[in-house]
């Protein structure tokens, strides 16, 4: 018997894939946003929206790596802050060149990931606790480095950030670079092993997959993307702020879940998370331009996000994975 395989099934599979939800939500958000904000598709508006989105997209990509492997990284926001304050204070108070400062800032972020990965995968303490503690520690370090908002990066850097390159908005290029960077990992063994380890750690081990190493690397990846996000954010706002990354931990998790990745690990995709992150940015826009009174803005955007999450949940259940289904 030949193993047959119809294209029809491929189509169903793509449509049923959880990542779809993230993109459908994004498109709905885009339509709603366009209605309340007619200028949405002007280049400058697109540019500033993407500028806001790029850091969140990066953090969400990294968070996806941690969640796929069955973990969670609450320290990403603190890493964003750390990179921001390091780069800015090196540039403005220590006269370091921007690029050297950038490299040091990203390296510091990755170092945090290495420590996270070590404690979680080798010392074996639950990721939730480790990264939560790390979040406070790194926020403390950031405050020590830069107690008050301030400082500046060279003007030529933040001018590029607001510009277009070859007709494309610069932040869009950054997002593309981020996604490509992920692709480098996704289609190597590590990309598969993140999913395998998150899906069934015991089975992965039995198949000779180095489970400890994979877990370790997932936190390094997450930290790497978070510190790149910190760098992008620095270029966008052009100054330092010790509280700048506070919202990223939970927002990146929301993006990951909106994108159809299972919080239990082993199932999901970065593409969905990117859709989810863009949706979250649009929600803020919509609420702002729909003239929602400022007192109610967080309430309304929260409600929209909950509705999005509920859709994800319902579609997930509809795809039938968790019913009693072994008999077909």
């Amino acid at each position: 018997m030949r193993t047959r395989f119809s294209s029809n099934q491929t189509a169903t599979r793509i449509f049923r894939s959880p990542a779809m939800i993230g993109w459908v939500l994004f498109l709905l958000g885009l339509v709603a946003n366009a209605i309340v904000q007619p200028t949405l598709f002007k280049l400058s508006v697109i540019n500033s929206n993407l500028g806001l989105a790029a850091p969140l997209v990066m953090v969400a990509i990294g968070q996806t790596a941690a969640v796929l492997a069955g973990g969670i990284d609450l320290s990403v926001g603190a890493i964003v802050t750390l990179t921001n304050v390091l780069v800015v204070s090196l540039c403005s108070f220590h006269h370091t060149g921007f690029w050297l400062a950038a490299i040091l800032g990203v390296a510091a972020g990755i170092a945090v990931g290495v420590v996270n990965g070590f404690i979680i995968s080798i010392v074996r303490i639950p990721a939730l606790l480790v990264t939560f503690a790390m979040m406070s520690i790194i926020n403390g370090v950031a405050l020590a480095i830069l107690p008050q908002p301030g400082g500046q990066i060279p003007a030529d850097i933040y001018q590029i950030y607001g510009n277009t390159v070859a007709g494309l908005p610069f932040p869009l290029l950054l997002i593309i670079v981020g996604v490509l960077l992920w692709v480098v990992f996704r289609y190597r063994k590590i990309g598969r092993y993140l999913i395998a380890v998150g899906g069934a750690a015991g089975s992965s081990r039995a198949n000779g997959i180095p489970v400890t190493k994979v877990r370790f690397q997932s936190y390094v990846l997450s930290a790497m993307f978070a510190s790149l996000a910190g760098l992008f954010l620095t270029a966008e706002v052009s100054s330092g702020d010790p509280l700048i990354g506070a919202s990223y931990a939970l927002n990146s998790l929301a993006a990951v879940v909106l994108g159809g990745t299972a919080l239990a690990g082993g199932r999901g995709s970065v593409s969905g998370s990117v859709g989810g992150a863009l949706f979250l940015i649009l929600v803020q826009n919509i609420v702002y331009f729909a003239n929602v009174p400022s007192y109610y803005q967080t309430l309304v955007s929260g409600l929209i996000v909950v509705m999005g999450l509920a859709t994800t949940g319902v579609l997930y259940a509809r795809s039938g994975k968790w019913r009693l289904t072994n008999g077909r």
Binding site: Y187, I209, N326
Partner: protein, 508 residues
């Protein structure tokens, strides 16, 4: 040659294996036998590197195997098909088949086309007609077990270990597997074959090592050993292998109907009528995948179905399994790992949950005196354990199955619906379970059993219904013989096909 020397494994105070030795010779098939909990899987897991031995070593071709490292074992040509499978449910069929040994191209990228090609090759060899990119979680259990075997075969192993690989398979699939395995043997591989089914062991194995309570009783050449001798080695005493003959049912029963279903219909069922009386054991047979599982699930409300249902004190279809349980209709799934035991909870809790699952949520759950009842059940079923508070995942597969029975008994059911109830259960326990089923029936419970094993159906049932394409096409009563059931399954299929019933191309 692979040699095991004095392998020992302790789990805390429990000695799972006490100094086992055996050797696998290229070009032979070696059987590993033993009752449930005798340490077979423990030995297998140490071969695969999943479990690190407390003592002892393994030599592969005069080289010492680094123990506790699955990667190293695979590298040395040892491939294992595990009893509880080692698949990742969320990953696709193809990705699972080559998990851990993905071919990579230039620059370290995984060669996805090569994966698909090799996966298709192995699926063809196993005659498994499933698309390579569905997630494994969506496959039926027997397909999952075939994949687990396929995963070992892709590695083109020098040493192939099959731990109860056939337990979840249908007869045709076992045949196919055997021709593959014999092919491997002829090419010079050594195979370790763990099974509770003697006919299989005698069909393909050359020698057999018997384990009892974690110790090797001896290794015998099968051509010179009888079944009775092997069983005596396994359990240390003689037992009769006579099937549990029914107390020629129909006399006591027929007084009350326990379960009555009318025209159950959905995408997999084409109008099934069914009756189970008190004290009756009804079997469901037929070729593989003819809607047997769907029927069981439809009855307890686990899948959507139209039709009508009547049980004692309840009319209408059940909304869900919990609703069915409230009316005393209990289900024992064939998928122990996912739908059976709570691995990380104790034996006590696993059994008690049967009784308290349907009581109000705020009712006090752990009352005294129930201890006694649980202990009695554990003793009655001879569950090998060292404490009632022990985690169930630490039990051997067969003993986990017995825990499921104990749970069902604790719930005092009216109707019990079972899917492959003796999967992975050793001969003597299997007889015990059959006896138990009879005594449950004797106490007035109605039982409905689906089994892939016609011998089992013939041995324990009062009636057997043969299914084909979601309908019941034959009913066998009276003096049941395994061969009659097999014949009826095949004939049922042929005559239905002859009628021009439309054949569904693909059940997936």
């Amino acid at each position: 040659m692979l040699t095991i020397e004095g392998l020992r494994k302790e789990y805390g105070a429990v000695v799972a294996l006490q100094g086992a030795s055996l050797s696998l010779v290229p070009g032979t098939i070696h059987a590993l036998l033993g009752a449930n909990g005798s340490g077979k899987s423990t030995l297998v897991k140490m071969l695969g590197g999943v479990v690190r031995p407390t003592e002892g070593m393994i030599w592969v071709d005069e080289q010492r195997l680094e123990t506790g490292s699955p990667a190293h074992a695979i590298h040395q040509g040892i491939a294992v098909s595990y009893q509880e499978t080692s698949l990742v449910p969320s990953m696709s069929v193809a990705d699972n088949l080559l998990l851990g040994i993905e071919p990579t191209g230039k620059a370290g990228y995984v060669a996805r086309r090569a994966i698909r090609e090799r996966a298709a090759e192995i699926l063809d060899q196993l005659e498994l007609n499933i698309p390579p990119d569905v997630p494994v979680a969506e496959l039926p259990t027997n397909a999952q077990h075939l994949l687990e075997i396929g995963k070992a075969l892709v590695k083109r192993p020098k040493y192939l270990v099959l731990d109860e690989a056939t337990a979840a398979l249908r007869r045709e699939e076992v045949k196919r597997l055997f021709s593959i395995v014999c092919g491997l043997r002829d090419e010079g591989a050594a195979i370790l074959f763990v099974s509770h089914r003697f006919d299989e062991v005698y069909a393909i194995c050359d020698r057999a090592t018997v384990l009892r309570n974690g110790a090797v009783v001896g290794t015998r050449s099968l051509s010179k050993t009888s079944r009775e001798e092997l069983i005596q080695d396994m359990i240390g005493q003689r037992i009769s292998l006579e099937p549990v003959r029914q107390e020629t049912g129909n006399s006591i029963k027929k007084q009350s109907l326990r379960l009555k279903a009318r025209s159950l219909t959905n995408s997999e069922l084409g109008g099934v009528d069914l009756e189970v009386s008190a004290g009756e054991i009804v079997g469901i047979g037929g070729l593989q995948g003819q809607g047997q599982t769907a029927l069981l699930r439809a009855l307890i409300g686990a899948i959507l179905v139209r039709g009508d249902l009547e049980t004692e004190g309840h009319r209408g279809l059940f909304r869900n399994p919990s609703h069915a349980a409230e009316s005393g209709v209990r289900f024992i799934s064939g998928d122990r790992g996912r739908e059976g035991v709570f691995g990380q909870r104790s034996i006590y809790e696993n059994i008690m949950i049967g009784r308290i699952a349907t009581s109000p949520l705020w009712q006090r759950a752990w009352q005294r005196g129930k201890n006694r009842a649980v202990r009695d059940l554990v003793e009655q079923l001879k569950i090998v354990h060292h404490s009632l508070t022990q985690e169930v995942r630490g039990l051997s597969g067969g003993n986990q199955q017995k825990v499921l029975f104990a749970r069902t008994l604790a719930s005092r059911p009216n109707v019990v619906i079972l899917d492959d109830p003796t999967k992975g259960v050793d001969v003597s326990t299997r007889m015990e379970i059959h006896r138990l089923l009879r005594s449950m029936a004797g106490a007035g419970v109605g039982l409905l059993i689906a089994s892939s094993d016609d011998e089992e159906l013939a041995g324990v049932c009062d009636r057997v219904l043969i299914m084909y394409e979601g309908r019941i096409v034959r009913e066998l009563t009276g003096d049941l013989q395994p061969s009659h059931i097999t014949k009826a399954s095949i004939e049922g299929a042929q005559s239905e096909k002859g009628k021009g019933a439309e054949t569904r191309a693909d059940s997936l």
